[in-house]
Symmetry: C2
Subunit: 214 residues, 2 copies
Amino acid sequence: MPRLWGQEASGNCYKVKLLASHLGVPLEWVRIDVTKGESRTPEFLAMSPAGQVPLLRGDDGSFLAESGAILWYLGQGTTFVPPDKLAAARMLQWMFFEQYRVEPNIATSRYWIHLLNAPERFAAQIAAKRDPGLAALAVMESHLAHADGFPGGALSLADIALYGYVHCAPEGGFALDGFPRIRAWIARVAGTPGHIGMHEPLRAPARYLEAVAR
Amino acid sequence: MPRLWGQEASGNCYKVKLLASHLGVPLEWVRIDVTKGESRTPEFLAMSPAGQVPLLRGDDGSFLAESGAILWYLGQGTTFVPPDKLAAARMLQWMFFEQYRVEPNIATSRYWIHLLNAPERFAAQIAAKRDPGLAALAVMESHLAHADGFPGGALSLADIALYGYVHCAPEGGFALDGFPRIRAWIARVAGTPGHIGMHEPLRAPARYLEAVAR
């Protein structure tokens, strides 16, 4: 069974759990606490040179890091990757957007405010993330004026990737009141059969073999 | 012919030109100057909501942003994407690593120092990027102890993506003297037939149809 080193409160780790839930992929979840330095031990760095979670170990014993790459590995050949070449590239466009525009602003603010509970200590850093974080949300809101998701159509890896941190953006100080289309999209993702919440445990697998056989 | 809006001195744009040169993809290059706000005009934002270059317009008139997604779009089905599922995911791992660890540190420092020529004005920001930039280079150097590239083997989209900014890291204040394996890898990439330099114009296409037919 593939093993995943992850932290429950991390949106990057949650993305993998959420996709695994949709696909019914069996995953052995190994809990790791980044805030206690557990991703910086020599043992962990030997598996993940950049000290990153999530980290996947496949059945062949090799490791894969970066949430986007893990999503791709688990999701290719399923309905979560559009079969059309351009649509698949557009999905990747949103996944790179998420890691470059959403995560570094919204997830880091949430880390300082919600996980470390130290908004005063990181006030300057949080302030610097505000405008680029809002700009990323505005780009998403604008896209949703003419699409029901990212890129739109069947739920894709990019929907999963963006949901990871956008659904909990308020925990990073980014209220979503001014983004009604994003809120509707969040409700759509959360209402899709197979969905689980960030703090729910992964349920027993069921549909994985069916999904990979498609 | 696909049209690419790009800035010559941008490593993100160079990546696309470099892959196009290898594959012999015909590209109409439309020069745009980000430092003069040309990616922030209403006309440009209508094509690229996040105001990003490179921006590709395909023959069907639709747009694709994010260098990694454009590389994927042009490169899939060629030798630049490993056919093995895990190897392809590992290639994407390095492409996400590049956008999360290399670009935000090394490219932004280079932007302030080399393109804006304003190292004093951005001294605090440049200082903040130093340690994470060096850490990213250290991860690459460590990987190259047991591989000849990213992920290793045939030149991949990740080699192209990482080359974009790492080959000119010294322009961002990141000397590569302490990274002999990275320097050897740079020489390997630059010595591959089809390579062109950052400031060389794209030559006439030749091998594209051959490549996509593989």
